[in-house]
């Protein structure tokens, strides 16, 4: 009756699952943007310090859901950021754009880029040289606040101006 009449030889294809993983393969490249270390922040009482920029002026602006429009409050913060940057020409900045978790991954990456770009464009209109600014988007990958309601989401829909010493890489 049923002779086994057809044989599929799959030996070659079956050798597939044997590769090993080297956990150090890619080194320890950081996932965050470059910024000055904590030791380089200076004192918040020194108006020319990154600490003053981060805390007295404010290093971030927030956005409405799905928007990249700068509010009046954001513009005021960014005007002061621009003044600081123009007074402290040794520093450059990376503007990081972020989104809350209420969105798909790819769209949030693009939305974060739009927010970072809105900040960059405004800083440039205020007189900051474009070559001192760079943007990067993290989408929804790096939330600051971890709850799943608007109180957290509004903190996460942000663009953060990260001060760095030296040139933009």
């Amino acid at each position: 009756m049923n002779i086994i009449s057809k044989a599929l030889i799959v030996t070659a294809a079956l050798g597939l699952a044997a590769c090993s993983t080297n956990p150090d393969r890619f080194g320890a490249a950081g996932s965050g943007a470059g910024g000055v270390g904590a030791a380089g922040l200076g004192s918040v009482s020194d108006p020319n310090s990154p600490a003053y920029f981060n805390e007295a002026i404010g290093d971030r602006v927030l956005f409405q859901v799905d928007q990249s429009t700068l509010t009046d409050e954001s513009r005021e913060t960014l005007r002061q950021q621009a003044v600081w940057l123009m007074n402290n020409g040794d520093y450059t900045a990376i503007v990081e754009g972020h989104a809350d978790e209420q969105g798909t991954r790819e769209y949030n990456l693009a939305l974060g880029a739009r927010r970072a770009s809105a900040v960059q464009d405004f800083l440039v209109t205020q007189g900051v040289a474009p070559n001192r600014l760079r943007t990067v988007s993290y989408g929804k990958e790096r939330p600051l606040a971890v709850c799943s309601d608007e109180s957290c989401y509004q903190q996460n829909r942000r663009a953060v101006t990260v001060i760095a010493a030296g040139g933009v890489s």
């Binding site: 597939l16 739009r114 943007t135």
Partner: protein, 442 residues
């Protein structure tokens, strides 16, 4: 009579296909389908160990074949404890009345041996019990013992294909992002596993954020986005040796959302310039780059049709995220999504008939499918956050990531069939997101 078995399954699968006949539906008709069907009962006695050293393999392979079949939701295994008789020898004639007595409609028998050269030999037969005859010829697979799971999946694919008349999906792999750590400092590693969660292997070390891997049709190459320079860029990895190279696209811009063309020769992706994201195509042979969209809105998440003639993508050019289809070379795009809410991450089915997507509406996320012209939209799932569908090789099942809410929220992989039935968690070692299902392995 063989017919009856096949027709029964065809009916079951038809429940999974868009149901238009009952009443003519406009393209805005939306429903969450919850078909309930009776799975087909089958018996799978433990495969015979033809050599003493094959006993464990025989037992394990039998369980994997059974798990593959029951995991589809189309089949129900009859407990061996209710068998009237057992199959003592693979070569012995089948006692059909004994299997009819327990209402087994299909019977799978098998035998496993270890050959003199150390290779594993797996044989199986499938019987239509009520017709009293075999369904197809016996078949045997030969492979390395370490690949016993693949051989079991190949047996199950054959059984599935013979009974449903469609290709199977068990001998396939899934590349995904394995996640660990707290929500505000998540560690993400590229990883790959069998479709059922077995044989998981990490491909990157977690030192950089990695996103949305895609696997080539031959299962040998993976495209993904990595922040390893601190800036998102697309990389391609060869699975066999973990060698990876940066995609030859402009490095001063952020690039992401890559996907292969069906023949693997083209990579479509998104590039952001001055805050504006558009879609581009890289010819991997010539290195030539072509811009496919040119709009001030966000254009991203492109996916080729299986015949390579069209690309579906998402855009917010209308004000919110919606789905559009354009010719593969770019040009005028047609909007296909018109329901309530926002639509993203479209993926063309390998069968060509449907597009799967993520939908956001009224604070909930859904995985859904629609025909390629946007008609007959059906939502298959609903949760706090469902995202990123990927198709099974036969276009019958969708895998996606579901993330739970709150500070302790974490993603896991789920699968669901295109009728919305058989929602199942895909087992992974730890949290997981961004699945991409390979075609059937060669």
């Amino acid at each position: 009579m063989t017919h009856i078995l096949r027709i029964l399954l065809a009916v079951m699968l038809a429940a999974a296909a868009p149901m238009v006949s009952a009443q003519e539906r406009g393209p805005l008709r939306i429903e969450i389908t919850e078909g309930v069907i009776e799975p087909l009962p089958f018996a799978i006695p433990a495969f015979e160990a033809e050599t003493p050293n094959a006993a464990q393999y025989a037992q394990d392979i039998t369980r994997v074949v059974a798990a593959d079949l029951t995991g589809t939701g189309l089949f129900r295994e009859i407990a061996p404890s209710s068998f009237v008789s057992n199959v003592t020898s693979f070569a012995a004639p089948v006692a059909y009345p004994d299997w009819r007595a327990i209402n087994a409609q299909a019977l799978v028998t098998g035998a496993v041996s270890v050959a003199g050269d150390g290779r594993l030999i797996v044989k199986f037969r499938l019987f239509d019990v009520f017709a009293g005859q075999p369904l197809g010829e016996g078949l045997q697979f030969v492979g390395e013992p370490a690949s016993w799971r693949r051989m079991a999946h190949k047996v199950a694919d054959q059984v599935y294909a013979r009974i449903t008349g469609e290709g199977g999906y068990f001998d396939s792999r899934v590349v995904f992002v394995a996640e660990s750590g707290p929500k505000d400092a998540r560690v993400k590693r590229l990883a790959i596993m069998d479709y059922d969660g077995a044989n998981m292997q990490s491909l990157t070390d977690g030192g950089s954020i990695v996103l949305a891997p895609r696997i080539s049709r031959d299962g040998q190459r993976i495209l993904y986005t990595s922040y390893e320079t601190g800036f998102p860029a697309i990389y391609e990895m060869t699975v066999s040796n973990l060698q990876r190279t940066r995609l030859p696209v402009p490095t001063e811009n952020m690039t992401f959302a890559p996907r292969y063309s069906p023949d693997g020769s083209t990579v479509i992706y998104s590039l952001t310039e001055g805050g504006n994201t558009d879609i581009y195509a890289l010819d991997t042979r010539s290195g030539g780059i072509r811009r496919l969209t040119n709009a001030p809105s966000i254009e991203t998440a492109p996916s080729f049709s299986p015949d390579s003639s069209q690309i579906v993508f998402e855009s917010d050019r209308s004000g919110t995220q919606q789905l559009y289809v354009m010719p593969a070379a770019g040009g005028e795009a047609t909007r296909i999504s018109f329901g309530q809410g926002r639509y993203g991450t479209p993926v063309w089915s390998p069968r060509g008939d449907l597009i799967a997507f993520t939908k956001q509406n009224a604070g909930r996320f859904h995985i859904g499918v629609m025909r390629t012209d946007g008609s007959e939209e059906r939502l298959l799932t609903a949760s706090f956050l469902d995202e990123g569908p990927t198709w099974s090789p036969n276009g019958r099942v969708i895998m996606f990531a579901r993330e739970t809410a709150g500070a302790g929220g974490a993603p896991a992989l789920f699968s669901v069939d295109i009728s919305g039935r058989n929602l199942r968690r895909v087992p992974t070692d730890g949290s997981a997101s961004d699945p991409a299902w390979s075609p059937l392995l060669p």
